[in-house]
Symmetry: C2
Subunit: 269 residues, 2 copies
């Protein structure tokens, strides 16, 4: 039996960089490892899978509509008085270094916020963020937290988010996005599903893979931080989230239309 | 802390039947439980998530193109000399009773075939199938199995599949589908991704959720088993898989086109 275990390369996390699905497999393994370390909930694996599929149908790249949303999001974060980045298990497992880099560049705290409570999860996420260099992490002290109304999940418990004016929520659930909107927060979402409730409720929806979107936001922040407030406000005012989501749906339609020819080419090889 | 655990209903497997996402959550929990019982591999959770997303964009229902494929598939299974149904961890976790029912109705063996080998997995899957009433289960005796060429994963090991003329593969990986095709097997696939390599390589591709497709096949089998061979051959000859997949892509395009208006209605509530 041993021989089979070692020969089954698909279970091996050392995916060769030349593998056509290298990036996708690398992040898949980060999520599975995250589950083993308590960082990721079991349902987080299923959520990751949903993301993979939506990523296929936007062509697994940062689209031009995503770039527009990223620019507006960075402008909003630069203008904000009390912005905060909410971090869940999947985000922490996938891109801890990038989250910390963005947080430091924009001087915005990270707040750990999880859907599924489990003893030790907050600590595991805190560890992964600290290992990535984070120094300003909110949401770690149960006693300091207050509860958002109308929410059943553990997501209801917030710390700095309670007083924030702009909340960035990568990988959020619809209930909480709606709750945050009802408290008049400006919400920036990163969500691969362009018509999830989070995507629809958010003020700025970045339909992109978090593993590409956060590095893209870092690049964008380095440029936009040179602008003055008037210029940033202009960027923000020019952005229309609903039109941008509709344009994203058009990109998906084009992608699928294309697949009617493209996909079948593998059969001719 | 206890209080939080009990209040967090989202982690509770007793989802109320009135919940709008009842079915989706029920099957999600079956997959998570399957992982805890060794039936489902960790990557199987991610695969399930991908399926959920593809199910969204076909509208979470058995489409008319899926019904056409189901009819052709049942005809092919009724005509076949040595048909077999390949069962992996996710399939066994989701619909063990339905798989057994279909297997008995058509007098076709079930063969356990898994991508990720782990000590005890085959046994766990065998148990779940036996509990569901299965009596003819292949692929459980390591010593009786032979290896398909050109495959690295544990999927290469086959038992009755080696001599089968028609292999039904619910939830298959592309490499093995291609390997089976190269051995001149007729392949029937159930795959929610209409352009996965499995979907493209298969002779008959049922783009549907396995939890709806197998019950639908059972219904269909009860009808078609009354027909004579000539009529079954005619059904099969009239079916064109590539056109049917393209028609499925058109249904998806329509669905997404519709979302450009439908999705935003929740914001007006």
């Amino acid at each position: 039996m041993k021989k089979i275990m070692t020969r089954n390369k698909n279970q091996n996390h050392g995916v060769p960089k030349t593998h056509p699905r290298y990036l996708s497999l690398k992040f898949r393994h980060k999520i599975i490892d995250g589950m083993k370390n308590l960082v990721v909930a079991e349902a987080g694996l299923i959520a990751h899978g949903r993301g993979e599929c939506f990523d296929y149908i936007i062509g697994e790249k940062t689209t031009k509509t995503a770039r527009k949303a990223i620019k507006a999001a960075v402008a909003a974060l630069l203008i904000a008085k009390k912005p905060v980045i909410s971090v869940n298990g999947n985000a922490a497992a996938l891109v801890p270094e990038d989250l910390v880099k963005l947080s430091k560049l924009l001087k915005i705290p990270l707040e750990i916020n999880i859907f599924y409570f489990k003893e030790g999860r907050i600590k595991a996420i805190k560890n992964i963020l600290e290992k990535a260099g984070a120094t300003d992490i909110k949401g770690t002290n149960e006693n300091k937290m207050i509860e958002l109304e109308g929410l059943e999940s553990n997501r209801r418990k917030v710390d700095y988010i309670a007083k924030a004016d702009v909340v960035m929520v990568p990988l959020e659930d619809g209930d909480r996005t709606e709750a945050l909107k009802k408290l008049n927060k400006k919400v920036i979402a990163i969500d691969l599903n362009p018509v999830s409730r989070t995507a629809l409720w958010a003020d700025i929806t970045i339909v992109d893979n978090i593993t590409r979107a956060i590095p893209e936001m870092i690049e964008c922040a380095m440029e936009l931080q040179r602008l003055d407030k008037g210029e940033l406000v202009e960027i923000l005012n020019k952005f229309d989230n609903i039109s941008n989501i509709k344009a994203t749906l058009d990109l998906i339609i084009n992608y699928i239309e294309n697949q009617k020819e493209e996909a079948f080419k593998i059969l001719k090889k």
